[in-house]
Amino acid sequence: MIDRADLWIVMVLLGLGTYVIRFSFLGLLGNRPLPEWLVRSLRYTAVAVMPALVAPAVLWPAATGGQMDPARLAAAGATVLVGYVTRSMMAAIFAGGVVLYGLLWALGG
């Protein structure tokens, strides 16, 4: 059960923090030049944060009690491969879904 106080604190502060991130340069700092290392690092936030966020769930899914699951592993692999090759998020989701359901059905029955 999620603690209600935690929930609301997270909602409000995450909302505020996210807004500050969005407003930062657009709203306040305008055209002021940024240090190059900062701009360069920011380019890699998405590719560094997003896959790392889900990697543990890919290898050790909670749904299987943390046991490695061939269907989920293969689905993740297919998603990355198809997304990389086609550059299309939709195609990647579709490929991942087909492999996941296909293998869950074939392996689990």
């Binding site: 935690d6 929930l7 923090g17 969005r22 690092s41 543990p56 989920r72 998603t79 990355v80 990389y84």
Partner: protein, 236 residues
């Protein structure tokens, strides 16, 4: 039609295909939040205050693990840090707009409004600022109401989805599908691989705090590789 009206409509039509992704993504948040026992008001409040899907999933998962609030905030904000880059990239186009307008834009600065706007301004450099503004809000116009409505729909459907549908894996697949097309250079690849490798190695750290270390090192590795490859290209 007035050029700003035309710009606005172009934004709407360019954004429309993204609804195919946004509707199920928002519904999924509604479903998972309902399964975590949030009531409808809390779910809608979450989507309205934060309005950044990926970080909402991350925060929701950590809340369910009863992680410390500071860890939840740091992780979810790390997910949203990419928006600082969006803010940097759009600043030169809208720097002259009234601050009130920019304050409203900031709330609506999401993956799609950033990516589509930048592509449009690249393609049509002659656009006036009014037209650029119209395009940005045109992109947002169909996405925001559909995001909110789909969240509610998912929340109402709630626990009706049986475990055989393996919904636990919808978020990993969506996140990987969002990132894979962003891997355009060796530097992007290295940033991702280093970060994933480290997060797995640091799995012993509590509440996924290893992610913060892994992401920081991953970002730095990407930046380093960019410097190296740039230098090699300059020398060649």
């Amino acid at each position: 039609m007035h050029p700003t009206g035309r710009s606005f409509l172009r934004g709407v039509t360019d954004a429309a295909p993204f609804l195919i992704v946004i509707v199920p993504f928002a519904m999924l948040f509604g479903v998972l939040a309902a399964e975590a026992d949030l009531d409808l008001f809390e779910i809608v409040a979450f989507s309205v205050t934060v309005f950044a899907g990926a970080s909402q999933f991350a925060a929701l998962a950590l809340l369910q693990e009863n992680a410390p609030v500071l860890v939840i905030l740091a992780t979810a904000l790390a997910v949203n840090l990419r928006m600082m880059m969006y803010s940097v990239a759009l600043a030169p186009h809208f720097g002259a707009a009234p601050v009130g307008v920019r304050a409203v834009m900031a709330y609506f600065l999401i993956d799609q409004s950033f990516a589509l706007s930048l592509a449009e301004f690249d393609k049509r450099p002659a656009l006036s600022m009014a037209e650029k503004l119209a395009y940005f809000f045109g992109v947002v116009a169909p996405i925001v109401p559909m995001w909110m409505a789909s969240t509610v729909a998912g929340a109402v459907m709630g626990q009706a989805i049986p475990p055989e549908f393996a919904l636990d894996f919808a978020v990993p697949i969506t996140f990987l599908a969002m990132t894979a097309p962003m891997i355009r250079t060796a530097a992007h690849g290295v940033a991702g691989v280093v970060s994933v490798g480290l997060v797995l190695a640091l799995g012993w750290m509590p509440y996924g705090t290893g992610l913060l270390v892994a992401a920081a090192v991953g970002m730095a590795s990407g930046a380093l590789v960019e410097v190296w490859t740039g230098r090699r290209r300059a020398a060649a």
